[in-house]
Amino acid sequence: MKDNIVVDLKKVFFYYDRIPVLEDVSISIEQNDFLAIIGPNGGGKTTLLKIILGLLKPDRGEIKVFGMIPDEGRRLIGYLPQYTLYDLNFPINVFDVVIMGRYKGLAKRYKKEDKEAAVEALRTVKMLEFKDRHISMLSGGQMQRVLMARAIVREPKLLLLDEPMASVDPEMQKSFYELLLKLNREMAIVFVTHDIGAISVYVEEVACLNRKLFYHGSKEGSLGKLEEAYRCPIEFIAHGTPHRVLRRHKK
């Protein structure tokens, strides 16, 4: 195995009650990759992330995370789940959500360095001033950034993001991408989204997933394959800035 391979999936199949969700998915992710996995809702994107995290076991196929089984390799992964899953009335404040990412083991207290790391992570996502606020008093985008801080606070080697741009307003999206770009120097980043508009200029590679993996490669080459994955025509806006997906053409 090459040293720089972070995640390696070989011929993975997954079924929910005999309904195929993933079929014959093989993909490898390398160190410092910046990969967007796009596909329609119900296309198996979240399932794929959960398989990498060892939360779901594939029915067939092989999976290695940092050369280990997912249950062991996942300690090097930072994970941002879909924020819609949370009960925002749960009695917990921003800081306590973030420090959860520094969990070390049963009955081990959080140390000073863990608290400092949590503060640093909150500063990175520009949420430090909300440190003591209860989560019910955050907007969707703010909650998303808190969950992002929790994902990066463990200093992971791979960041898995599930719909990170949902409920983040366009202005915020830009700074979110800039943050990802900065983090990308230290870790591989994989994010899944059903929203093609979320694929920005910064993304290096695109994979199209709808039960099967239709494409994996540079984003410029993905145009035709996306239609296959979504089973409907897709328009990539190649001109103008607000929703720019492709890079500016070189003259």
Partner: protein, 280 residues
């Protein structure tokens, strides 16, 4: 104050405090992790243990301890490891446990004394020995929570993320169910199997409206629960009503009053924001 001269009254007051320590702590998790129905299942299934106690001729409360823990583990393991959904597993244990209790009592020769007090509770007939059991169970619950509070609350907030960072959620979930089982046993004497669920959830549901801090929530629940239990006990004494049901009704009234209070507070806050704006 003359009623305090009676031993049964002193025992009743001690029980009211002891029981609410267990309820305040465990009930907080039950309410925030939404485990009310599973707690109902465990408490009703525990009736099987009471019946077993009669059948074997031992203290029904002692027999109920292992029985309720086994039921809690059974519900937890079946709902997590098989494709049976949690509410189905709960429903089955709920009914089967109660049926077992009835059969055991059927098989016991003679008639079952105090059976009603296990079903509906009677805080006035608590022997000192049961107080000692309550004290021990309270200690077990407090020690467990001090050790694993961080894990319990993180797990309740986000099961998937905590699994990824290495929290042993499966075992901790079963441990939490066992704590519910123990607190059910503590409560049976006070309000009875059928009303346990109210004492477990109402103090935490009231307190939850006034704090967002889990530790404060536990202490407030213990306080609110103890005050309302003692109040209910006093009311039942002067009105000559069944103590368990009176306590529950007072808890219920407390809950609705707290809803109204919360509404008033939010109304006032909105108004003060308005005046601030108009002054501006």
């Amino acid at each position: 104050m003359e009623i305090l001269h009676y031993e049964f009254m002193r025992n009743a007051l001690a029980a009211a405090v002891l029981v609410n320590i267990a309820c305040g702590i465990v009930g907080t998790y039950v309410v925030i992790k939404r485990m009310v129905f599973i707690s109902g299942g465990i408490s009703h299934a525990t009736f099987g243990g009471i019946g077993l106690g009669y059948f074997l001729g031992i203290n029904p409360i002692l027999a109920a301890i292992p029985f309720s823990i086994l039921c809690a583990l059974g519900i937890g393991i079946i709902s997590k490891r098989t494709k049976v959904s949690e509410d189905t597993a709960i429903g089955i244990f709920w009914a089967v446990g109660m049926a077992l209790g009835i059969i055991f009592i059927n098989l016991t020769p003679g008639y079952a004394p105090n059976l009603f007090s296990y079903l509906f509770g009677n805080i006035l007939t608590i022997p000192s020995f049961d107080l000692i059991i309550m004290l021990i169970l309270d200690a077990v619950i407090i020690i467990t929570v001090v050790l694993f509070h961080k894990e319990f609350s993180a797990m309740s907030f986000d099961e998937e993320f905590t699994t990824v960072v290495g929290v042993p959620n499966r075992i901790l979930y079963l441990l939490l169910l066992c704590m519910i089982a123990l607190s059910v046993v503590v409560m049976i004497r006070i309000v009875g199997i059928i009303l346990v669920i109210a004492l477990l959830t109402i103090p935490a549901a009231i307190s939850r409206q006034f704090t967002y801090n889990i530790t404060k929530l536990m202490f407030l629940s213990i306080f609110v629960g103890a005050v309302l239990t003692v109040g209910g006990l006093w009311l039942s004494y002067i009105l000559n009503l069944a103590s368990g049901a009176t306590i529950i009704l007072l808890l219920g009234a407390g809950f609705f009053i707290s809803l109204f209070l919360k509404y008033l507070i939010s109304l006032r806050r909105r108004r003060s924001v308005k005046t601030m704006k108009s002054n501006y």
